[in-house]
Amino acid sequence: MTDLLLCNARLIDPEAQTEVLGGLRIKNGVIAEVFPGLEATATEGKTIDCDGMVLAPGIVDIGVKIGEPGERHKESFRSAGLAAAAGGVTTMVMRADTQPAIDTPETLAFVLNRAREVTRVHVYPMAALTKGRRGGEMTEIGFLLDAGAVAFSDGDAVCINPKILSRCLTYANALGGLVIGHVQDPGLSEGAAVTSGKFASKQGLPGVSAMAERMGLERDLALVELTGARYHADQITTAAALPALARAKKAGLDITAGVSIHHLTLNELDVGDYRTFFKVKPPLRSEEDRLAVVEAVASGLIDIVCSMHTPQDEESKRLPFEEAASGAVALETFLPAAMRLVHAGMLDLPGLFRAIALNPARRLDLPGGRLATGAPADLVLFDPDAPFVLDRFALHSKSKNTPFDGARMQGRVMRTFVGGEQVFAKDDT
């Protein structure tokens, strides 16, 4: 493997929380040297002048839905890998809500093989916590850990029975497994398509109170306290849930929380006239909630921002709003959407990469997420200011269900490196 020198870049170090002008040298797939300033020592390999653009650790995205097995027409490992590379995502942690669910070591081995064959970015699978994600019997957590599961989650299926969940938490904890929960009270949120309130009432859509999230979180926190488990709440999207989260962290529970990029950049009014591409789970929230959650990311109360990439084909979206499928693709729009928060002055770049690279890598014990000597050379080089209008048909994902179609965005990925290899370069670079 030849050496590579990247110079004249704005280096984002999420560990040190710094942004400095400098460069780095890649050797054998790892970062061999990080140096400040413009002066680079002579090198044998190739040199890339980054032209003052931003060089940061590649995004580590927890909770990507890939349609294999079962829904390959929506997203394959190949298309997801291309989309990830184009979006600066160097590690995808895939969800277990496939068909069938990843709930046996055999299915897990299948997805790992498929991923290795066709995907150039790193793929780590989650496994289901319960068989078939039905909330009844626990999966073979030990075997699944041995086979390479990095976390256990039933996706958006909430385990209704607290006794079963508490046993799963206890068992997983004994083996050191991380459990990821979807915090929604299943009764209160049943049948809901949007968040209840004025907008839901005006459009005549069934809504769920934001309180359902707090109830779901409080229940899971009580069980985490009971079992001492390692726990991550996948999406905290409401102001009402934040005090409970802060309390649990203060009490020393082993808990982290995430939020999807859509809940940070969109609100319930974006649904407008029944636009199903804006139907996500949990539903988009009020502007007050959005701002509170953005602030929680900036302060570090919410640890992780993810894309919650959920490909859906046209058929499952071209339906009346209540009947339409939930979810939005986001691998390629993740970074430009997040840059909206940076351009609005609500987050800085080191803070952003702490939430989208460093923290998820740390929480799931994965390599990557750092910009330091010895770290894997998983990197994204992007122009933070480049403006463009998003065309959904230009996305690499097989599914085009993005809420940002036609949106004006700022921030373009120019190059993506995984293990020192360039896996994406924008056409004109």
Binding site: Y274, L319, P320
Partner: protein, 316 residues
């Protein structure tokens, strides 16, 4: 007044002028409908298709009669038990019907927003005959016409809407329309049947009938949507009738000349006392049915004629 809309999907996109032009035209059709020869020719030669994905007798009959009186060829499709059950999507159904070159589509659907979705896919004018809990614009227009003819005006009235507001598209369309016309609105019903965030709609909310009805000009009762009661919103029908059913005693808190309205079909003894409903001195329920035909004639006439003079139309 030029009626610029291409479709009638709801009251929300209409302005005061649109509403008044429909009501004025409807007045004209009320006169026509009371003559022995009821034939107009505004829709002569045109094809009107009524697509009802939810069962309806009254609204469908009203639209059918309205179309026939204006000379249209009217076809009724009861979609509640048709190919949609065989797995065809709403959009495919819409495209199929569209290929038959209708001039007017009248659509009722159990999902909010479904009629908007369908309207995007067809070339002709679409009238919303009720979508989920969202809107039922012709009902609000016929209610407005009834009020205007009974009270002589459609502004600065105190109007109470009572009962199951949460599940009612009639209530939503009426709140929009009567609000746009600058009336004072009071919503009365148990808190479990009030939509969330309702206080932000510029209305007063009561859970006591006597308090809410005090001094109102119009009392609008809603049907208690028993088929939508999926989760025990009220303890029992008899308790509901006791607290929220309209009878003479509760009505006595309203103005002496207050009128009583109901969109039908009524549950006698649940939301309204049977004798009161039949009292022609107080109840205008039969007039509402009559106005319904005239309003639908007016709406279809205006939509088709705006489509002729303005072929590209303005989405509404």
């Amino acid at each position: 007044m030029v009626f610029a809309a291409k479709h009638l999907l709801g009251i929300e996109p209409l302005n005061k002028g649109d509403i008044l032009s429909i009501l004025d035209r409807a007045d004209h059709y009320v006169t026509l409908n009371r003559q022995p020869n009821k034939h107009g020719d505004a829709l002569a030669g045109m094809t009107q298709i009524n697509m009802f994905f939810e069962n309806s007798t009254r609204t469908q009959a009203s639209f059918e009669l309205a179309g026939k009186r204006l000379g249209a060829d009217v076809m009724n499709m009861s979609m509640a038990n048709s190919s949609i059950k065989k797995g065809e999507t709403l959009i495919d159904t819409a495209l199929t019907i569209n290929a038959m070159q209708p001039d007017l589509l009248v659509v009722r659907h159990p999902s909010s927003g479904a009629v908007n979705l369908l309207a995007e896919k067809v070339n002709c004018a679409v009238l919303n005959a009720g979508d989920g809990r969202h809107e039922h614009p012709t009902q609000a227009l016929l209610d407005a016409l009834t009020i205007r003819r009974a009270k002589g005006r459609l502004h600065r009235l105190s109007i109470a809407i009572c009962g199951d507001i949460a599940h009612s598209r009639v209530a939503r369309s009426n709140i929009m329309l009567l609000g746009k016309m600058e009336n004072r609105l009071r919503l009365i019903g148990p808190k479990t049947l009030m939509p969330s965030g309702i206080a932000d709609f510029g209305v007063e909310v009561f859970d006591d009938m006597r308090e809410g009805l005090a001094g109102v000009d119009v009392v609008m009762m809603l049907r208690l949507q028993r088929e939508r009661m999926d989760g025990g919103f009220i303890p029992s029908e008899r308790e509901f009738y006791h607290r929220f059913g309209l009878d003479l005693e509760k009505l006595s808190y309203a103005k002496d000349d207050a009128i009583v309205m109901h969109p039908g079909p009524m549950n006698r003894g649940v939301e309204i006392d049977g004798t009161l409903a039949d009292d022609i001195n107080r109840s205008v329920i039969q007039e509402q049915v009559e106005m319904g035909v005239a309003v639908r004639m007016a709406a279809m006439d205006l939509l088709v004629n705006s489509a002729r003079s303005n072929p590209k139309g303005v989405m509404a």
